[in-house]
Symmetry: C2
Subunit: 327 residues, 2 copies
DNA sequence: ATGAAAGCGCTAACAT
DNA sequence: ATGTTAGCGCTTTCAT
């Protein structure tokens, strides 16, 4: 198939090593030779074989990304951001979906480890110690999760919650409900804690229990919310919030007339629902890009030591599902 | 870092080739030796280096997937399906997003080509001849697109349109509008043609022009649809259909009371909107899986020749946005 | 400034 | 059944 470096060398009348140098470190070789090599390479359509290069350099210029579920509308944005940033840095990225299975996550990570320079785990399901063990084998970056002091990209969940409570509070809401997500989720704990702190002493927070982080989870929580006498509710994520709104509407409960709803994440459909969902936006593409930046920094031998964590801002997007506290 | 095959060989007191054989073709080697090698490998935590293996075998056991836009809710399902099937076959997959840029698509394809055994292009934006040229360099599988007789996974768009028209027709609709997508889109042409054929002689089809395949594209088309006196409208895809419904609602036009709406694709939010969207479902994960199957078949030297194309069924999902033709 | 030689980790002939 | 040799395509000493 493709031409090899020897073919180019022969065509240019030089040795393979000269070709290698001419193409990569052209300042170390005679300009005329460089030109000759360039031409030969061009005319043969030569493309260096990254596999062979990787074998000798020990660098694959590949990154791996592992996510729990691509079908969850939160993740595609992250993948896209990571992919874009990686491309800029001339890296390619493997993507693996674990179907929320921690066992699979670990296996996939170990398999990809040999083929990538760094592995980025988005919202990993693995236990801390497993993550730490993995980090011994491969450069690791965590997204939306802390574990030990592994490098991580985080969102300012507490800040986001503060904004949400501030907004609701200004609208006159004094009793806010919380529809929490999975107990095992790191982001959920963060958001719950942030919300408690934000409410402390200002508004009464009613925690309505944990629900599946899905549309149906929101649907299931709706009647419980209605029974709880709150005038506003904050859901762990947008998909749940959408389920909530849907069920409220089905029950003839006006949103935001009778109850206000706030989601988290700002997934694409949050803006497309009616009324559009007020939500705490987490920068998804930015998260992916930051993950690559961290990985690249760790890989760079001249790098300024480990940059253990990077926190991204969260921002409340006020849309149609929040309004004045009525009755 | 990792132990190499020589380390294992030394530990087991055999030669590297024996280790290789013991691990891969164990029936050709003495069971006792196999056991010894296994143990040695285990205790050293030996993991074969796929890069080195790929260099000599010429097979990377990697697949590449290129999609125009991961943020489009249609694609994550495809990625997920492909990823799952690839994993079953012990392949890893590179994912690249081109931001709808054909130039980038071509460049990414050529770059990935060297690192993968086959490249799967989902709804490629490239011209036929570019695709054909690419196919000369790397095993190619097309998803939702035909070009020459390159291997492709297709959806039965015509069948889907037939079902949609049958449904609408049964509900008494005699004038149906079509909100088309990009002229350059292969799927769009397929759907338009399918729709014309399905309508021929039964119902009057009003083609309302091409719009951006986005929520806003649907929003933009809404008033034009209303002015056209149709009682039902079929949109190129779900995102547009959702935009349509949204704008209809904003205009106080009842869906499906006054107008029925049908989308295409069955993206996740189609089921979560209110009312839930009637849509022609295209099997997304299946598409991804079928892409891998085709690629694997092409790669298999013992394979039964090229299987040029595989067509997947489309299915109308009747939900809340279609109802009897009223006035 | 360039070439020759070695070798990354592995597998596949070719011996034995 | 196992070891030896060669080499995948490239980069990198080490010479010259």
């Amino acid at each position: 198939m493709g031409a090899t470096i020897r073919d180019v060398a022969r065509a240019a009348g030089v040795s393979p090593s000269t070709v290698s140098r001419a193409l990569a470190m052209s300042e170390l070789v005679n300009p005329a030779t460089v030109e000759r090599v360039r031409r030969a390479a061009e005319s043969l359509g030569y493309q260096p074989n990254p596999v062979a290069r990787g074998l000798i350099t020990g660098r694959t210029r590949n990154l791996g990304l592992i996510v729990p579920d691509l079908a969850n509308p939160f993740f595609p944005g992250v993948v896209k951001g990571m992919q874009a940033r990686a491309r800029e840095a001339d890296y390619a990225v493997f993507v693996a979906d674990t179907d929320e299975d921690p066992g699979l996550e670990s296996r996939l990570a170990r398999k990809l480890a040999k083929q990538v320079d760094a592995l980025v785990l988005c919202s990993p399901r693995l236990a801390d110690d497993e993550l730490l063990a993995l980090a011994a084998d491969v450069t690791l970056v965590l997204l939306h999760r802390r574990a030990g002091d592994l490098p991580a990209v985080l969102a300012d969940n507490a800040g986001g919650m503060r904004q949400a409570v501030g907004h609701l509070s200004a609208l006159g809401h004094r009793r806010i409900g919380l529809v929490a997500g999975p107990v095992s989720s790191w982001s959920n704990s963060e958001r719950v804690a942030g919300l408690r702190a934000a409410c402390a002493g200002r508004v009464e927070l009613t925690e309505l229990g944990n629900f599946a982080p899905t549309f149906d989870g929101g649907v299931a929580a709706a009647d419980i919310v209605l029974a709880s006498e709150v005038t506003a509710v904050i859901a762990y994520n947008d998909v749940m919030a959408l389920g909530l709104v849907n069920m409220f509407t089905a029950r003839g409960v006006g949103v935001p007339g009778r109850i206000s709803v706030v989601g988290c994440d700002d997934i694409p459909q949050a803006a497309m629902s009616s009324p559009p969902l007020t939500t705490v936006a987490v920068p998804k593409e930015q998260t992916g890009r930051a993950g690559v930046d961290l990985a690249l920094a760790l890989l760079d031998p001249a790098g300024p030591g480990p940059a253990p964590a990077r926190e991204l801002g969260a921002q409340l997007l006020v849309r149609g599902t929040t309004g004045p506290a009525g009755r």
